[in-house]
């Protein structure tokens, strides 16, 4: 029987919800965490096909070096001892390949190595490369998450907006070679905003994490979820799964309770970490003004993907996939355009995060798994949409054809580096819409682009706070920080910042 009362109810058990719940529990609050799916973890969950566990939303991250923010946060919360991070640097890199020229460039997860490799490949652009990378580092020195001596509040007030230029603009004024432009734009694939709409400041904040050193995690995103659940259980936090929150009750502008599975739980604080566009329908009419409702409902989703989960036929032929992600890119800054019908397009990503499980010495089944992705438009899938988890006939055939085209391209492009792949499962914009809630199948929540205002943590309802990748920044790191900021809005921003850092 679920409890009738709590100090705080966190809706959603993705990394943001787990982080907020763990911080609130650590501050002595009685927390209830409610998740609509059968298992906790949101996008970090692993699922299994043919005995192989696959990550959905976690391939690699920054921020886990000594004294770096994600590790500091996880140490503070006590989850770090249960996590085995695998540094992918110094040798690890993204490999960018251009099909027309055949050029391959290694983008190391290290500023120094990256700069050296880029200058070796594009010697005439040396000045622009140095400036571009120096600019990212300069911006990140003003971001408290990367410069832990800074206070949090002033940064959040002007959050990465002042004097902003687009990523495309900064790249095009820094360097002229279209292949180099594509390489510098590529990290935009990690937050799902086309470079012409992405602000350079946000780009810097996401990219800096990877350029400073990237990490995999043994057991993938699931290992992070499991580590959090262990800690939460220790604090007495109640975790209720398979239970969608249906309603948030508000009276006289103050949150009262949450109704889930027909059961009411009262709480002074309610934290919602799902897609912002779904929030208005969880509250009674009149709770929010039309202006806020329209703002949430109109938010533009991040870009979607077509994703293929497969098995490496001879996994040992591809050991380099443990520390390398393979990218094919078109030249220029427009790397995120969906392909024209019937083609795979030029942007592809091949990654095998499960291969990092091998580092603990076990011959983990995850090591045979491989994930292939390409940008996808909502429109190409929408013709098969008949509502939540309902598809028009032809969908299956379309998915199979798309998968075949994609694998043919992967073989053409990376046949020398990646063993043959047997497809096991695919995901489309419709899958992402149904699983993650983005209205157009966005893989990273709401766009934090230059032209729209993503919602912040605080709402007009007393006691109702938002969190999640759509509120601050996306990715494992960004969503964890969103969880931290939301807990900070409740406990006190500078208080929590000081506590985490000391």
């Amino acid at each position: 029987m679920p409890p009738h009362q709590a100090d705080a109810i966190v809706i959603g058990s993705g990394i943001s919800g787990l982080t907020t719940a763990a911080l609130l529990a650590k501050s002595g609050r009685q927390v209830v965490l409610i998740e609509k799916n059968k298992k906790p973890g949101g996008a970090l969950r692993r699922f299994k096909r043919a005995g192989i566990p696959f990550d959905i939303g976690f391939h690699y991250t920054g921020g886990l070096g000594n004294k770096e923010i994600l590790r500091v946060l996880w140490e503070y919360l006590g989850v770090w001892p249960n996590i085995t991070a695998v540094p992918l640097h110094p040798g690890g890199h993204d490999l960018f390949r251009f099909r027309k020229s055949g050029r391959s460039v290694r983008a190391y997860y290290s500023y120094d190595l990256l700069q050296e490799e880029l200058i070796t490949n594009f010697p005439r652009e040396a000045g622009g490369i140095r400036d571009f990378l120096a600019n990212i580092r300069r911006i990140c020195r003003t971001v408290p998450f990367y410069n832990l001596d800074l206070p949090l509040t002033p940064f959040l007030r002007d959050y990465l907006t002042a004097g902003n230029r687009s990523l495309a603009d900064v790249i095009q004024t820094s360097v002229k070679d279209p292949e180099l432009q594509a390489i510098l734009a590529a990290p935009a694939l990690l937050y799902g905003i086309p470079p012409r709409n992405a602000g350079f400041a946000l780009h810097s904040a996401v990219t800096h994490g990877y350029y400073s050193g990237a990490y995999g995690i043994v057991g993938g995103g699931q290992a992070i979820v499991d580590a959090f659940i262990t800690v939460l259980q220790r604090t007495g936090t109640e975790i209720i799964t398979n239970c969608p929150v249906e309603h948030i009750t508000v009276k006289d502008g103050t949150v009262q309770s949450v109704i889930a599975g027909g059961h009411e739980i009262k709480a002074e604080q309610v934290i919602y970490t799902g897609q912002p566009n779904a929030l208005p329908d969880l509250t009674a009419k009149g709770t929010f003004r039309p202006a806020y409702i329209h703002r949430l409902k109109d938010l533009e989703d991040t870009k979607s993907m077509f994703i293929l989960f497969g098995k490496l036929d001879c996994p040992d032929d591809g050991p380099r996939l443990a520390t390398t992600n393979l990218y094919s890119l078109p030249p220029g800054v427009d790397i995120m355009d969906a392909p024209s019908p019937g083609t795979a397009g030029e942007t592809l990503l091949v990654t095998a995060p499960g291969r990092r499980d091998v580092s603990d010495g076990s011959d983990a089944p995850a090591a045979n798994g491989v994930i292939v992705m390409r940008p996808a438009s909502w429109e190409e899938a929408a013709t098969y949409d008949l509502g939540h988890k309902k598809r028009r006939t032809g969908y299956q055939t379309w998915k199979e054809e798309t998968a075949t085209t994609l694998l043919t391209e992967v073989e053409k492009c990376f046949g020398d580096l990646c063993p043959k792949i047997t497809p096991l499962a695919t995901g489309t914009p419709l899958t992402f819409r149904d699983e993650l809630g983005g209205p157009q199948g966005g893989v990273y929540g709401t766009q934090h682009n230059m032209t729209q205002f993503a919602p912040r943590a605080r709402t007009k309802v007393e006691g109702l706070t938002l969190s999640g990748q759509s509120t601050l920044m996306t990715g494992l790191l960004g969503s964890s920080l969103a969880g931290l900021v939301t807990a900070g809005e409740i406990i006190g921003l500078e208080t929590i910042w000081d506590q985490v850092l000391t």
Partner: protein, 85 residues
């Protein structure tokens, strides 16, 4: 281009609807915070609503920071001369 008076009328209309305010209260002298009871959270919603209605970008306008009254909003939108709808 639409007439200034028409812009004022439309500003009042959109603010009244989106913030559930009585249009009669939206006089030029009315201050957003004290008279209309809006706060800093509403300010962003206001920018979003006006940008959408008039197809203009307000976020980067320096003058947005000094908006205090309805008259300031009228002046700001008029200065950006939105195209007619």
């Amino acid at each position: 281009m639409i007439h200034d008076e028409e812009i004022r009328r439309q500003v009042i209309e959109v603010i009244a609807e989106e913030f559930e305010l009585d249009p009669v209260a939206l006089t030029p002298e009315a201050t957003l915070y004290d008279d209309l009871g809006l706060d800093s959270l509403d300010a962003v919603d206001m920018v979003v609503a006006l940008e959408k209605k008039f197809g203009v970008k307000l976020a980067n306008e320096e003058s947005i920071r000094s908006v205090r009254t309805m008259a300031d909003i009228f002046a700001l939108i008029i200065s950006l001369k939105p195209a007619g709808q």
